[in-house]
């Protein structure tokens, strides 16, 4: 089966503050199987987010290839939606206008797109907030709206870059549970970057650990925990702890290396 996303010996370069570029990985290969929820963890500065931008087609690898369902990516990835770490809603559009933007851009009429946007807002628990502007909502509510904005276009792949890292712990767990609920209905391919190993295990089918610079795949760990999961409760079961300790043993070495390197 063709993987949904395939990184084929890519080079990752990060811009440095002085305007240069730092090569953090060469010859990195990774296949993401369609329909899987894959979390990528690794020490900071190892290029996790850059990997996501490569899959999005927002950046291009100086060397190596990125393939989406077998086709080499040369422009914006048309099969993917992206949930950013920062607020990415347009502040001058109301919530409903933000959510219907995707369909609007794809050529649908406003009249057609609006009921659908309202339906999605209801699904993420934002009914009644349609006419508010983003700044009038809490951080968690803005994330829900962003979720609706990316799911309304029915993408086959979801790219998520630490989407809940700015939220408080309670809101975060609620959002994680809701994300799993949405995901269970559609089983889209998800690439979820996080620095939080617990979050990675609680959500994913598979956890990919990246090493410190030069980044390589340190390990790929299948997460065989039962679904549907409650992200708060799953952290209590022994299998979770066992897996956490196994992955953490690998990850801590890399985090330590990144901190000292």
């Amino acid at each position: 089966m063709t993987p949904a996303v395939s990184f084929d010996s890519v080079t990752i370069r990060l811009p440095t503050p002085d305007g240069g570029a730092l090569t953090v990985a060469t010859d990195l290969s990774l296949d993401i199987v369609e329909g899987k929820f894959v979390a990528i963890v690794g020490p900071s500065g190892c290029g996790k987010s850059t990997l996501l931008n490569l899959a999005a087609g927002l950046l291009f690898a100086p060397e190596g290839k990125v393939r989406i369902f077998g086709d080499e990516l040369h422009a914006i990835n048309q099969h993917a939606a992206y949930l950013f770490q920062q607020d990415a809603l347009l502040p001058w559009r109301t919530i409903v206008d933000n959510v219907l933007l995707g369909p609007l851009i794809r050529g649908r009429s406003r009249a057609e797109a609006e009921p659908e946007a309202r339906h999605w807002l209801q699904r993420v628990g934002l009914a009644g907030f349609e006419k508010q502007f983003p700044h009038q909502l809490s951080g968690g509510m803005r994330k829900r709206a962003a979720l609706a904005q990316s799911w309304i276009v029915d993408p086959r792949i979801l790219l998520m870059d630490e989407p809940f890292s700015a939220l408080d712990v309670q809101t975060r767990q609620i959002m994680e549970t809701e994300l799993l609920g949405l995901w269970a209905e559609t089983r889209k391919t998800v690439l979820f970057v996080t620095h939080d190993l617990e979050e990675a295990i609680a959500l994913a089918d598979e956890v990919v650990v990246l090493s410190a610079r030069p980044a390589r795949i340190k390990g790929i760990y299948p997460v065989n925990l039962p679904r549907p999961r409650d992200v708060a409760e799953i952290r209590m079961i022994p299998a979770f702890t066992t897996l956490f300790n196994r992955i953490w043993a690998d990850l801590r070495v890399e985090v330590g290396a990144a901190a000292h390197g």
């Binding site: 999005a56 927002l58 914006i76 990835n77 048309q78 993917a80 939606a81 992206y82 950013f84 920062q86 607020d87 990415a88 809603l89 347009l90 502040p91 001058w92 559009r93 109301t94 933007l101 995707g102 851009i105 794809r106 502007f133 983003p134 700044h135 904005q149 990316s150 276009v153």
Partner: protein
């Protein structure tokens, strides 16, 4: 972090002080006018140079009730409005083009700096020669002033678009044209709107200065005529009338701005 309690009481006490402040403002105005009137009447200030509030207000009333001033006011406002509209449209178009095409910005950078450093009021005599004594020369002068303000704000607005917003809309499969429509332009609009006060003020300055230097109509012309016959009362009446009109326009713009930028936090 803002303490909600202090914040609330702070707002309340400001609300409560509002009538006091207004009373003091009116009191100051009356005292100032009374002092001026007394100084001019007693001869402490020469009424030939300073006129008197009673004479000035009588003159303004005469102009308004007699209908003399309307033709001039309408001329000045027409010039300012045209300069404002043309300058804004050109400023947005050029700002947009320069911000999107790096080479253009790099090549023209020194010329734009020179043109911006030039005190543009100095162009008034040239425009009078080129475009004559009618409204065209005043509009041209106003356009050069408004254009620069809007141009720089648009340029800056486009260059400082939040890259996350841009990437987000790009991921929603927006074309270049759609990015312009949904991200670049609305983002630059906030900068352009915040420059409205400055640019409408410039447009009026240009109109009045242009009229003052050479025209047959307009508030600047009225002031120049009064000055020509040493009619200080007429000069002051013209100045005050212009200020009141500008103040009125400013209040309207503020209302418009508050409405259009209502999506902004704390706006």
């Amino acid at each position: 972090m803002a303490d909600p309690v202090t914040f609330a009481t702070g707002t309340k006490s400001r609300e409560a002080r509002r009538p006091v402040i207004i009373a003091l403002q009116i009191g100051f105005f009356i005292a100032w006018m009374a002092l001026w009137e007394i100084m001019a009447t007693t001869g402490l200030a020469d009424p030939f140079f300073f006129s008197k509030p009673s004479l000035i207000s009588a003159r303004i009333w005469e102009w308004l009730s007699g209908g003399f001033i309307y033709e001039h006011l309408i001329t000045t406002l027409t010039e300012a409005l045209l300069a404002f509209l043309i300058g804004t449209v050109l400023g947005v178009i050029f700002g947009l083009t320069f911000a999107r095409i790096r080479l253009l910005a790099a090549v023209f950078n020194p010329y734009i700096r020179v043109f911006n450093a030039l005190p543009r009021v100095i162009l008034a005599p040239i425009f009078l020669l080129w475009f004559g004594l009618g409204i065209a020369s005043k509009v041209a002068l106003g356009v050069t002033l408004v254009f620069m303000v809007v141009f720089f704000n648009t340029y800056q607005g486009i260059r400082e678009v939040n890259p996350v917003l841009l990437n987000n809309v790009r991921m929603l499969q927006a074309s270049q044209r759609q990015l312009l429509r949904y991200v670049y332009l609305p983002s630059a609009m906030t900068w352009i709107f915040s420059s409205l006060h400055t640019s409408i003020g410039f447009a009026l300055v240009a109109a009045v200065v242009g009229e003052y230097l050479g025209s047959a109509r307009g508030v600047g012309f009225v002031v120049a005529q009064a000055e020509g016959v040493f009619d200080t009362t007429g000069v002051f009446a013209g100045l005050i009338l212009t200020s009141v009109v500008v103040l009125g326009i400013d209040l309207l713009i503020e209302k418009l701005e508050n409405y259009l930028l209502r999506w902004r936090p704390g706006g």
